[in-house]
Amino acid sequence: MPPFSVTAGFSASKRLSETARPCETSLMVRFGRVALAYPTSQGHPGQAALRDVSFALGEGSFTWLLGPSGAGKSSVLRLMQAAIRPTSGVVSVLGTDIGQAERAALPALRRKIGVVHQEFRLLPHLSAWDNVALPLRLAGRAEAAIRQDVNEILDWLSLAAKAGRGPAELSGGEQQRIAIARAIITRPALLIADEPTSELDVFEARRLIALFAEMNRLGTAIVVATHSEDLPARHPARVITLSEGRIIDAP
Protein backbone atom coordinates (compact mmCIF):
# COMPACT_ATOMS: atom_id res chain seq x y z
CA MET A 1 0.00 0.00 0.00
CA PRO A 2 1.61 3.31 -1.01
CA PRO A 3 1.95 5.98 1.68
CA PHE A 4 -1.05 8.21 2.11
CA SER A 5 -0.23 11.85 1.62
CA VAL A 6 -2.36 14.28 3.56
CA THR A 7 -0.86 17.27 1.83
CA ALA A 8 -1.59 16.20 -1.73
CA GLY A 9 -4.92 16.32 -3.48
CA PHE A 10 -7.18 16.13 -0.47
CA SER A 11 -8.33 19.43 0.82
CA ALA A 12 -11.61 18.29 2.24
CA SER A 13 -10.38 18.49 5.83
CA LYS A 14 -9.69 22.16 5.34
CA ARG A 15 -13.14 22.67 3.89
CA LEU A 16 -14.66 20.78 6.79
CA SER A 17 -13.00 23.05 9.33
CA GLU A 18 -14.23 26.04 7.40
CA THR A 19 -17.84 24.90 7.15
CA ALA A 20 -18.43 23.00 10.37
CA ARG A 21 -20.15 24.85 13.16
CA PRO A 22 -19.21 22.91 16.26
CA CYS A 23 -20.85 23.99 19.48
CA GLU A 24 -18.47 21.80 21.46
CA THR A 25 -15.03 22.23 19.98
CA SER A 26 -13.59 19.00 21.40
CA LEU A 27 -16.64 16.77 21.01
CA MET A 28 -17.54 15.00 17.79
CA VAL A 29 -20.54 13.17 19.18
CA ARG A 30 -22.59 13.54 22.32
CA PHE A 31 -25.49 11.33 23.39
CA GLY A 32 -27.46 12.59 26.39
CA ARG A 33 -30.02 10.21 27.91
CA VAL A 34 -31.07 9.04 24.48
CA ALA A 35 -34.06 6.77 24.00
CA LEU A 36 -35.19 5.40 20.68
CA ALA A 37 -38.29 3.45 19.72
CA TYR A 38 -38.89 2.64 16.07
CA PRO A 39 -42.47 3.32 15.01
CA THR A 40 -44.72 0.37 14.30
CA SER A 41 -46.43 -0.02 10.92
CA GLN A 42 -49.40 1.82 12.45
CA GLY A 43 -47.13 4.74 13.32
CA HIS A 44 -47.14 4.17 17.07
CA PRO A 45 -43.88 3.93 19.05
CA GLY A 46 -42.74 0.33 19.11
CA GLN A 47 -40.43 -1.54 21.43
CA ALA A 48 -37.52 0.54 22.73
CA ALA A 49 -34.30 0.02 20.76
CA LEU A 50 -32.25 2.31 23.01
CA ARG A 51 -32.77 3.36 26.62
CA ASP A 52 -31.00 6.09 28.53
CA VAL A 53 -27.85 6.03 26.38
CA SER A 54 -25.26 8.67 27.24
CA PHE A 55 -21.67 9.04 26.09
CA ALA A 56 -19.38 11.50 24.34
CA LEU A 57 -16.70 11.04 21.68
CA GLY A 58 -13.88 13.52 21.28
CA GLU A 59 -11.98 14.71 18.26
CA GLY A 60 -9.57 12.10 16.90
CA SER A 61 -10.96 9.34 19.14
CA PHE A 62 -11.21 5.65 18.24
CA THR A 63 -14.17 3.84 19.75
CA TRP A 64 -15.39 0.26 19.56
CA LEU A 65 -19.13 -0.17 19.92
CA LEU A 66 -19.47 -3.70 21.21
CA GLY A 67 -22.48 -5.91 21.79
CA PRO A 68 -24.41 -8.85 20.45
CA SER A 69 -26.87 -8.61 17.59
CA GLY A 70 -29.91 -6.59 18.64
CA ALA A 71 -28.00 -4.74 21.36
CA GLY A 72 -28.61 -1.37 19.69
CA LYS A 73 -25.25 -0.74 17.99
CA SER A 74 -26.74 -0.06 14.57
CA SER A 75 -29.34 2.25 16.11
CA VAL A 76 -26.57 4.28 17.73
CA LEU A 77 -24.75 4.51 14.41
CA ARG A 78 -27.92 5.44 12.54
CA LEU A 79 -28.48 8.27 15.00
CA MET A 80 -24.88 9.39 14.49
CA GLN A 81 -25.32 9.62 10.73
CA ALA A 82 -28.64 11.46 11.05
CA ALA A 83 -30.54 8.59 9.45
CA ILE A 84 -33.10 8.72 12.28
CA ARG A 85 -33.99 11.09 15.08
CA PRO A 86 -34.07 10.15 18.76
CA THR A 87 -37.39 9.57 20.47
CA SER A 88 -36.07 11.50 23.47
CA GLY A 89 -32.79 12.83 24.75
CA VAL A 90 -30.10 14.74 22.89
CA VAL A 91 -27.91 13.51 20.02
CA SER A 92 -25.34 16.07 18.96
CA VAL A 93 -23.11 15.24 15.99
CA LEU A 94 -20.46 17.70 14.82
CA GLY A 95 -22.30 20.35 16.75
CA THR A 96 -25.71 19.70 15.22
CA ASP A 97 -28.57 18.59 17.44
CA ILE A 98 -30.05 15.75 15.38
CA GLY A 99 -33.38 15.83 17.20
CA GLN A 100 -33.92 19.55 16.70
CA ALA A 101 -32.17 20.28 13.40
CA GLU A 102 -34.27 21.31 10.45
CA ARG A 103 -34.58 18.61 7.81
CA ALA A 104 -32.94 20.84 5.20
CA ALA A 105 -29.81 21.09 7.36
CA LEU A 106 -29.20 17.34 7.55
CA PRO A 107 -27.79 16.66 4.01
CA ALA A 108 -24.89 19.04 4.67
CA LEU A 109 -24.22 17.29 7.98
CA ARG A 110 -24.31 13.84 6.34
CA ARG A 111 -21.73 14.96 3.79
CA LYS A 112 -19.34 15.55 6.70
CA ILE A 113 -19.70 12.02 8.06
CA GLY A 114 -18.12 8.97 6.47
CA VAL A 115 -20.12 5.77 6.77
CA VAL A 116 -19.06 2.20 6.03
CA HIS A 117 -21.79 -0.42 6.01
CA GLN A 118 -21.56 -4.13 6.55
CA GLU A 119 -23.13 -4.76 3.14
CA PHE A 120 -21.02 -2.05 1.39
CA ARG A 121 -24.00 -0.30 -0.26
CA LEU A 122 -22.15 0.60 -3.44
CA LEU A 123 -24.25 1.85 -6.32
CA PRO A 124 -24.41 -1.08 -8.76
CA HIS A 125 -24.80 1.13 -11.84
CA LEU A 126 -21.57 3.00 -11.29
CA SER A 127 -17.97 1.92 -11.69
CA ALA A 128 -15.75 1.71 -8.62
CA TRP A 129 -14.23 5.05 -9.64
CA ASP A 130 -17.60 6.78 -9.92
CA ASN A 131 -18.76 5.29 -6.63
CA VAL A 132 -15.76 6.83 -4.89
CA ALA A 133 -16.28 10.14 -6.70
CA LEU A 134 -19.96 10.36 -5.73
CA PRO A 135 -19.62 12.24 -2.39
CA LEU A 136 -17.38 14.84 -4.03
CA ARG A 137 -19.88 15.31 -6.85
CA LEU A 138 -22.70 15.68 -4.33
CA ALA A 139 -20.59 18.31 -2.60
CA GLY A 140 -20.28 20.17 -5.91
CA ARG A 141 -16.52 19.77 -6.36
CA ALA A 142 -14.97 20.52 -9.75
CA GLU A 143 -14.33 17.47 -11.94
CA ALA A 144 -10.59 18.19 -12.22
CA ALA A 145 -10.17 18.19 -8.43
CA ILE A 146 -12.35 15.10 -8.14
CA ARG A 147 -10.19 13.20 -10.63
CA GLN A 148 -7.03 13.93 -8.70
CA ASP A 149 -8.48 12.97 -5.31
CA VAL A 150 -10.16 9.79 -6.51
CA ASN A 151 -7.10 8.55 -8.38
CA GLU A 152 -4.95 9.27 -5.33
CA ILE A 153 -7.15 7.42 -2.87
CA LEU A 154 -7.60 4.45 -5.20
CA ASP A 155 -3.82 4.27 -5.50
CA TRP A 156 -3.53 4.42 -1.73
CA LEU A 157 -5.99 1.54 -1.37
CA SER A 158 -4.29 -0.47 -4.15
CA LEU A 159 -7.45 -0.33 -6.24
CA ALA A 160 -6.32 1.78 -9.18
CA ALA A 161 -6.35 -1.23 -11.49
CA LYS A 162 -9.97 -1.98 -10.57
CA ALA A 163 -11.25 1.57 -10.94
CA GLY A 164 -13.28 0.91 -14.05
CA ARG A 165 -15.01 -2.20 -12.81
CA GLY A 166 -18.50 -2.39 -11.45
CA PRO A 167 -19.13 -3.54 -7.87
CA ALA A 168 -20.31 -6.94 -9.05
CA GLU A 169 -16.91 -7.53 -10.64
CA LEU A 170 -15.02 -6.96 -7.38
CA SER A 171 -14.32 -9.29 -4.47
CA GLY A 172 -15.90 -8.64 -1.07
CA GLY A 173 -12.69 -7.13 0.23
CA GLU A 174 -12.33 -4.90 -2.79
CA GLN A 175 -15.92 -3.75 -2.50
CA GLN A 176 -15.36 -2.96 1.15
CA ARG A 177 -12.26 -0.94 0.31
CA ILE A 178 -14.21 0.96 -2.35
CA ALA A 179 -16.89 1.65 0.26
CA ILE A 180 -14.19 2.92 2.61
CA ALA A 181 -12.68 5.06 -0.13
CA ARG A 182 -16.12 6.55 -0.71
CA ALA A 183 -16.51 7.16 3.03
CA ILE A 184 -13.18 8.93 3.48
CA ILE A 185 -12.80 10.70 0.13
CA THR A 186 -14.15 13.92 1.66
CA ARG A 187 -11.79 13.53 4.65
CA PRO A 188 -14.64 13.43 7.16
CA ALA A 189 -13.97 14.40 10.73
CA LEU A 190 -16.06 11.42 11.81
CA LEU A 191 -16.02 7.95 10.28
CA ILE A 192 -18.50 5.34 11.46
CA ALA A 193 -18.53 1.69 10.43
CA ASP A 194 -21.19 -0.91 11.10
CA GLU A 195 -19.82 -4.46 11.32
CA PRO A 196 -17.34 -3.65 8.54
CA THR A 197 -15.41 -6.92 8.82
CA SER A 198 -18.29 -9.38 8.95
CA GLU A 199 -18.17 -10.08 5.19
CA LEU A 200 -14.37 -10.19 5.01
CA ASP A 201 -11.81 -12.91 5.51
CA VAL A 202 -9.22 -12.61 8.28
CA PHE A 203 -6.60 -11.01 6.04
CA GLU A 204 -8.97 -8.41 4.64
CA ALA A 205 -10.39 -7.71 8.10
CA ARG A 206 -6.91 -7.00 9.54
CA ARG A 207 -6.08 -4.83 6.56
CA LEU A 208 -9.31 -2.87 7.10
CA ILE A 209 -8.65 -2.27 10.78
CA ALA A 210 -5.10 -1.16 9.96
CA LEU A 211 -6.62 1.29 7.51
CA PHE A 212 -8.96 2.66 10.19
CA ALA A 213 -6.00 3.00 12.57
CA GLU A 214 -4.14 4.96 9.89
CA MET A 215 -7.14 7.23 9.33
CA ASN A 216 -7.41 7.74 13.08
CA ARG A 217 -3.70 8.59 13.28
CA LEU A 218 -4.36 11.27 10.67
CA GLY A 219 -7.01 12.81 12.89
CA THR A 220 -10.34 11.23 11.96
CA ALA A 221 -12.60 10.20 14.85
CA ILE A 222 -13.63 6.61 14.25
CA VAL A 223 -16.49 4.54 15.63
CA VAL A 224 -16.67 0.86 14.72
CA ALA A 225 -19.61 -1.33 15.72
CA THR A 226 -18.85 -5.00 16.05
CA HIS A 227 -20.14 -8.06 17.84
CA SER A 228 -16.62 -9.56 17.83
CA GLU A 229 -14.59 -9.14 21.01
CA ASP A 230 -11.52 -10.23 19.07
CA LEU A 231 -11.14 -6.95 17.20
CA PRO A 232 -11.01 -4.69 20.29
CA ALA A 233 -8.55 -7.16 21.82
CA ARG A 234 -6.22 -6.91 18.83
CA HIS A 235 -6.59 -3.13 18.50
CA PRO A 236 -7.06 -1.69 21.96
CA ALA A 237 -9.15 1.48 22.14
CA ARG A 238 -12.11 2.78 24.07
CA VAL A 239 -14.95 0.23 24.15
CA ILE A 240 -18.62 1.05 24.71
CA THR A 241 -20.60 -2.10 25.36
CA LEU A 242 -24.31 -2.24 24.67
CA SER A 243 -26.86 -4.81 25.70
CA GLU A 244 -30.61 -4.69 25.07
CA GLY A 245 -30.44 -1.03 24.15
CA ARG A 246 -28.49 0.10 27.21
CA ILE A 247 -24.85 0.89 27.78
CA ILE A 248 -23.53 -1.65 30.23
CA ASP A 249 -19.88 -0.67 30.09
CA ALA A 250 -18.38 2.61 28.94
CA PRO A 251 -15.03 3.52 30.48
Binding site: H125, S127, D130, L138
Partner: protein
Protein backbone atom coordinates in the same frame (compact mmCIF):
# COMPACT_ATOMS: atom_id res chain seq x y z
CA UNK B 1 -9.69 1.60 -17.89
CA UNK B 2 -12.51 3.38 -16.22
CA UNK B 3 -15.92 2.01 -17.04
CA UNK B 4 -18.47 4.52 -18.24
CA UNK B 5 -21.46 2.42 -17.20
CA UNK B 6 -23.98 4.53 -15.31
CA UNK B 7 -21.80 7.58 -15.50
CA UNK B 8 -21.93 10.61 -13.30
CA UNK B 9 -25.26 11.70 -14.75
CA UNK B 10 -27.10 8.55 -13.76
CA UNK B 11 -25.85 7.17 -10.43
CA UNK B 12 -29.29 5.79 -9.65
CA UNK B 13 -29.36 3.79 -12.87
CA UNK B 14 -32.57 5.42 -14.05
CA UNK B 15 -32.00 4.36 -17.63
CA UNK B 16 -33.07 0.87 -16.68
CA UNK B 17 -35.59 1.75 -13.99
CA UNK B 18 -38.20 3.94 -15.62
CA UNK B 19 -39.70 1.58 -18.21
CA UNK B 20 -38.43 3.98 -20.86
CA UNK B 21 -40.11 2.48 -23.90
CA UNK B 22 -43.48 2.14 -22.22
CA UNK B 23 -43.36 5.71 -20.93
CA UNK B 24 -42.37 7.06 -24.35
CA UNK B 25 -45.13 5.02 -26.02
CA UNK B 26 -47.81 6.18 -23.56
CA UNK B 27 -46.78 9.82 -23.82
CA UNK B 28 -46.69 9.48 -27.63
CA UNK B 29 -50.25 8.12 -27.62
CA UNK B 30 -51.44 10.95 -25.41
CA UNK B 31 -49.62 13.54 -27.50
CA UNK B 32 -51.39 12.08 -30.55
CA UNK B 33 -54.77 12.55 -28.83
CA UNK B 34 -53.83 16.03 -27.70
CA UNK B 35 -52.63 17.02 -31.18
CA UNK B 36 -55.86 15.76 -32.77
CA UNK B 37 -57.86 17.63 -30.15
CA UNK B 38 -55.86 20.82 -30.76
CA UNK B 39 -56.34 20.52 -34.53
CA UNK B 40 -60.04 19.74 -34.07
CA UNK B 41 -60.44 22.67 -31.73
CA UNK B 42 -58.80 25.01 -34.23
CA UNK B 43 -60.98 23.74 -37.11
CA UNK B 44 -64.20 23.92 -35.13
CA UNK B 45 -63.27 27.33 -33.81
CA UNK B 46 -62.80 28.60 -37.39
CA UNK B 47 -66.14 27.12 -38.42
CA UNK B 48 -67.85 28.69 -35.40
CA UNK B 49 -66.44 32.05 -36.35
CA UNK B 50 -67.61 31.68 -39.94
CA UNK B 51 -71.06 30.48 -38.92
CA UNK B 52 -71.39 33.21 -36.33
CA UNK B 53 -70.97 35.82 -39.05
CA UNK B 54 -73.77 34.18 -41.03
CA UNK B 55 -75.95 34.07 -37.98
CA UNK B 56 -75.67 37.74 -37.15
CA UNK B 57 -79.22 38.27 -38.35
CA UNK B 58 -80.94 35.31 -36.80
CA UNK B 59 -84.32 36.23 -38.32
CA UNK B 60 -85.29 38.64 -41.09
CA UNK B 61 -88.80 40.01 -41.58
CA UNK B 62 -89.92 41.38 -44.97
CA UNK B 63 -92.65 44.00 -45.04
CA UNK B 64 -94.32 44.48 -48.47
CA UNK B 65 -95.34 48.05 -49.23
CA UNK B 66 -93.09 49.39 -46.53
CA UNK B 67 -94.81 52.59 -45.56
CA UNK B 68 -93.43 54.26 -42.45
CA UNK B 69 -96.62 53.35 -40.56
CA UNK B 70 -96.37 49.66 -41.49
CA UNK B 71 -92.69 49.54 -40.63
CA UNK B 72 -93.34 51.23 -37.28
CA UNK B 73 -96.18 48.81 -36.49
CA UNK B 74 -93.98 45.82 -37.29
CA UNK B 75 -91.07 47.12 -35.20
CA UNK B 76 -93.38 47.88 -32.27
CA UNK B 77 -94.93 44.40 -32.42
CA UNK B 78 -91.53 42.75 -32.53
CA UNK B 79 -90.01 44.78 -29.69
CA UNK B 80 -92.76 43.70 -27.32
CA UNK B 81 -91.72 40.05 -27.69
CA UNK B 82 -89.43 38.80 -24.87
CA UNK B 83 -87.59 36.45 -27.26
CA UNK B 84 -86.44 39.41 -29.36
CA UNK B 85 -83.33 41.15 -28.12
CA UNK B 86 -83.07 43.65 -30.93
CA UNK B 87 -85.23 44.58 -33.94
CA UNK B 88 -83.67 46.97 -36.44
CA UNK B 89 -84.80 48.22 -39.82
CA UNK B 90 -82.28 47.64 -42.59
CA UNK B 91 -81.50 50.90 -44.34
CA UNK B 92 -83.15 50.86 -47.82
CA UNK B 93 -79.98 52.30 -49.34
CA UNK B 94 -77.99 49.37 -47.90
CA UNK B 95 -80.61 46.97 -49.24
CA UNK B 96 -80.22 48.45 -52.71
CA UNK B 97 -76.46 48.14 -52.37
CA UNK B 98 -76.72 44.48 -51.34
CA UNK B 99 -79.02 43.66 -54.26
CA UNK B 100 -77.07 45.56 -56.88
CA UNK B 101 -74.88 42.56 -57.90
CA UNK B 102 -77.98 40.53 -58.73
CA UNK B 103 -80.56 43.08 -59.82
CA UNK B 104 -78.45 45.95 -61.12
CA UNK B 105 -79.69 49.45 -60.40
CA UNK B 106 -82.84 48.95 -58.36
CA UNK B 107 -84.05 52.53 -58.37
CA UNK B 108 -87.77 52.49 -58.96
CA UNK B 109 -88.12 48.80 -58.27
CA UNK B 110 -90.55 48.23 -55.38
CA UNK B 111 -88.55 46.51 -52.65
CA UNK B 112 -89.94 45.23 -49.36
CA UNK B 113 -88.79 46.77 -46.12
CA UNK B 114 -86.51 44.48 -44.15
CA UNK B 115 -86.19 44.17 -40.38
CA UNK B 116 -83.30 42.21 -38.82
CA UNK B 117 -83.91 40.52 -35.50
CA UNK B 118 -81.45 39.31 -32.91
CA UNK B 119 -82.93 36.86 -30.48
CA UNK B 120 -82.46 36.84 -26.73
CA UNK B 121 -83.14 33.12 -26.78
CA UNK B 122 -81.99 30.98 -29.73
CA UNK B 123 -84.49 28.33 -28.67
CA UNK B 124 -87.40 30.70 -29.39
CA UNK B 125 -89.86 29.47 -32.02
CA UNK B 126 -89.51 31.68 -35.16
CA UNK B 127 -93.00 30.61 -36.35
CA UNK B 128 -94.61 32.30 -33.34
CA UNK B 129 -92.60 35.45 -33.99
CA UNK B 130 -93.74 35.37 -37.63
CA UNK B 131 -97.37 34.98 -36.56
CA UNK B 132 -97.14 37.95 -34.20
CA UNK B 133 -95.67 40.28 -36.80
CA UNK B 134 -98.14 39.09 -39.47
CA UNK B 135 -101.00 39.93 -37.10
CA UNK B 136 -99.70 43.49 -36.73
CA UNK B 137 -98.75 43.96 -40.37
CA UNK B 138 -100.62 41.76 -42.85
CA UNK B 139 -98.39 40.32 -45.56
CA UNK B 140 -95.23 40.34 -43.45
CA UNK B 141 -92.97 37.35 -44.22
CA UNK B 142 -90.49 35.92 -41.71
CA UNK B 143 -87.36 33.94 -42.60
CA UNK B 144 -85.49 32.12 -39.85
CA UNK B 145 -82.52 30.47 -41.59
CA UNK B 146 -80.17 32.32 -39.28
CA UNK B 147 -81.53 30.54 -36.22
CA UNK B 148 -80.26 27.24 -37.53
CA UNK B 149 -76.88 28.75 -38.34
CA UNK B 150 -76.68 30.37 -34.93
CA UNK B 151 -77.44 27.03 -33.30
CA UNK B 152 -74.66 25.46 -35.38
CA UNK B 153 -72.29 28.19 -34.25
CA UNK B 154 -73.23 27.58 -30.61
CA UNK B 155 -72.66 23.86 -31.13
CA UNK B 156 -69.27 24.57 -32.69
CA UNK B 157 -68.29 26.73 -29.73
CA UNK B 158 -69.32 23.95 -27.37
CA UNK B 159 -67.26 21.45 -29.38
CA UNK B 160 -64.31 23.82 -29.24
CA UNK B 161 -64.56 23.99 -25.46
CA UNK B 162 -64.91 20.20 -25.32
CA UNK B 163 -61.69 19.86 -27.35
CA UNK B 164 -59.89 22.08 -24.88
CA UNK B 165 -61.30 19.90 -22.11
CA UNK B 166 -59.87 16.84 -23.88
CA UNK B 167 -56.45 18.50 -24.01
CA UNK B 168 -56.61 19.25 -20.27
CA UNK B 169 -57.74 15.70 -19.55
CA UNK B 170 -54.88 14.29 -21.62
CA UNK B 171 -52.45 16.51 -19.70
CA UNK B 172 -53.81 15.22 -16.40
CA UNK B 173 -53.53 11.60 -17.55
CA UNK B 174 -49.97 12.26 -18.77
CA UNK B 175 -49.04 13.65 -15.37
CA UNK B 176 -50.57 10.58 -13.70
CA UNK B 177 -48.66 8.22 -16.01
CA UNK B 178 -45.42 10.01 -15.17
CA UNK B 179 -46.15 9.81 -11.43
CA UNK B 180 -46.84 6.06 -11.70
CA UNK B 181 -43.63 5.56 -13.70
CA UNK B 182 -41.64 7.56 -11.16
CA UNK B 183 -43.07 5.57 -8.26
CA UNK B 184 -42.13 2.35 -10.05
CA UNK B 185 -38.67 3.82 -10.65
CA UNK B 186 -38.26 4.65 -6.97
CA UNK B 187 -39.38 1.14 -6.02
CA UNK B 188 -36.84 -0.35 -8.44
CA UNK B 189 -34.00 1.89 -7.26
CA UNK B 190 -34.96 2.39 -3.63
CA UNK B 191 -31.58 1.22 -2.34
CA UNK B 192 -29.67 3.56 -4.64
CA UNK B 193 -31.91 6.48 -3.69
CA UNK B 194 -31.38 5.68 -0.01
CA UNK B 195 -27.60 5.56 -0.51
CA UNK B 196 -27.63 8.94 -2.23
CA UNK B 197 -29.82 10.33 0.55
CA UNK B 198 -27.46 9.05 3.24
CA UNK B 199 -24.40 10.35 1.39
CA UNK B 200 -25.91 13.79 1.78
CA UNK B 201 -27.69 14.36 -1.50
CA UNK B 202 -30.27 17.10 -1.13
CA UNK B 203 -33.87 16.20 -1.99
CA UNK B 204 -33.87 18.57 -4.93
CA UNK B 205 -30.74 16.91 -6.32
CA UNK B 206 -32.34 13.46 -6.29
CA UNK B 207 -35.62 14.83 -7.67
CA UNK B 208 -33.75 16.68 -10.40
CA UNK B 209 -32.06 13.46 -11.55
CA UNK B 210 -35.45 11.76 -11.94
CA UNK B 211 -37.04 14.84 -13.52
CA UNK B 212 -34.30 15.24 -16.09
CA UNK B 213 -34.88 11.68 -17.25
CA UNK B 214 -38.69 11.74 -17.28
CA UNK B 215 -38.93 15.11 -18.99
CA UNK B 216 -36.55 13.94 -21.70
CA UNK B 217 -38.64 10.79 -22.23
CA UNK B 218 -41.85 12.85 -22.26
CA UNK B 219 -40.36 15.25 -24.81
CA UNK B 220 -39.31 12.36 -27.01
CA UNK B 221 -42.71 10.65 -26.74
CA UNK B 222 -44.61 13.85 -27.41
CA UNK B 223 -42.53 14.68 -30.50
CA UNK B 224 -43.28 11.20 -31.84
CA UNK B 225 -46.98 11.55 -31.03
CA UNK B 226 -47.28 14.97 -32.67
CA UNK B 227 -45.41 13.73 -35.75
CA UNK B 228 -47.88 10.87 -36.05
CA UNK B 229 -50.78 13.28 -35.60
CA UNK B 230 -49.46 15.55 -38.36
CA UNK B 231 -49.24 12.55 -40.68
CA UNK B 232 -52.82 11.63 -39.77
CA UNK B 233 -54.08 15.19 -40.30
CA UNK B 234 -52.30 15.32 -43.66
CA UNK B 235 -54.13 12.15 -44.71
CA UNK B 236 -57.44 13.70 -43.59
CA UNK B 237 -56.67 16.85 -45.57
CA UNK B 238 -56.08 14.72 -48.67
CA UNK B 239 -59.51 13.15 -48.16
CA UNK B 240 -61.12 16.56 -47.67
CA UNK B 241 -59.34 18.18 -50.62
CA UNK B 242 -62.10 17.53 -53.21
CA UNK B 243 -64.72 19.31 -51.09
CA UNK B 244 -62.45 21.85 -49.41
CA UNK B 245 -59.91 22.76 -52.09
CA UNK B 246 -58.60 25.77 -50.20
CA UNK B 247 -57.50 23.67 -47.18
CA UNK B 248 -53.74 23.28 -46.76
CA UNK B 249 -50.78 23.03 -44.38
CA UNK B 250 -51.28 26.64 -43.42
CA UNK B 251 -54.57 25.70 -41.75
CA UNK B 252 -52.91 23.45 -39.18
CA UNK B 253 -52.50 25.02 -35.72
CA UNK B 254 -48.71 24.89 -35.77
CA UNK B 255 -48.22 26.91 -32.60
CA UNK B 256 -50.55 24.64 -30.68
CA UNK B 257 -48.91 21.51 -32.05
CA UNK B 258 -45.43 22.81 -31.23
CA UNK B 259 -46.57 23.57 -27.68
CA UNK B 260 -47.48 19.93 -27.03
CA UNK B 261 -43.93 18.49 -26.65
CA UNK B 262 -42.85 21.47 -24.57
CA UNK B 263 -45.93 21.12 -22.37
CA UNK B 264 -45.37 17.37 -22.05
CA UNK B 265 -41.79 17.92 -20.88
CA UNK B 266 -42.89 20.58 -18.39
CA UNK B 267 -45.73 18.42 -17.08
CA UNK B 268 -43.35 15.46 -16.65
CA UNK B 269 -40.83 17.69 -14.93
CA UNK B 270 -43.37 19.11 -12.49
CA UNK B 271 -45.07 15.79 -11.79
CA UNK B 272 -41.72 14.09 -11.17
CA UNK B 273 -40.31 16.78 -8.89
CA UNK B 274 -43.51 16.85 -6.83
CA UNK B 275 -43.73 13.07 -6.65
CA UNK B 276 -40.09 12.56 -5.61
CA UNK B 277 -40.10 15.39 -3.08
CA UNK B 278 -43.24 13.99 -1.44
CA UNK B 279 -41.66 10.52 -1.29
CA UNK B 280 -38.40 11.84 0.14
CA UNK B 281 -40.27 13.80 2.81
CA UNK B 282 -40.89 10.46 4.53
CA UNK B 283 -37.16 10.08 5.12
CA UNK B 284 -35.45 11.95 7.96
Amino acid sequence: MRREAGGRGDPIGLRGALADRLLVALIAAMALFAACAVAGQAAVSQLAQRWQQGANAAITVQIPNPSPARMESALEALRTLPAVREAREVDPARMAELLRPWLGDVAGLPLPGVIELRLADLAADPVLIGDKVAEAVPGAVTEAHGVFVARLAALARALSLAALGVVLLVAAVAASVVVIAVRAGIAARRDSVMVLHMLGAADRDIAWRFARRTSWLALLGAVLGVALAIALLWALMQLAAPILPEIGWQDLPWAGLAAIPVSAALIAWGATILSILLWLRRLP
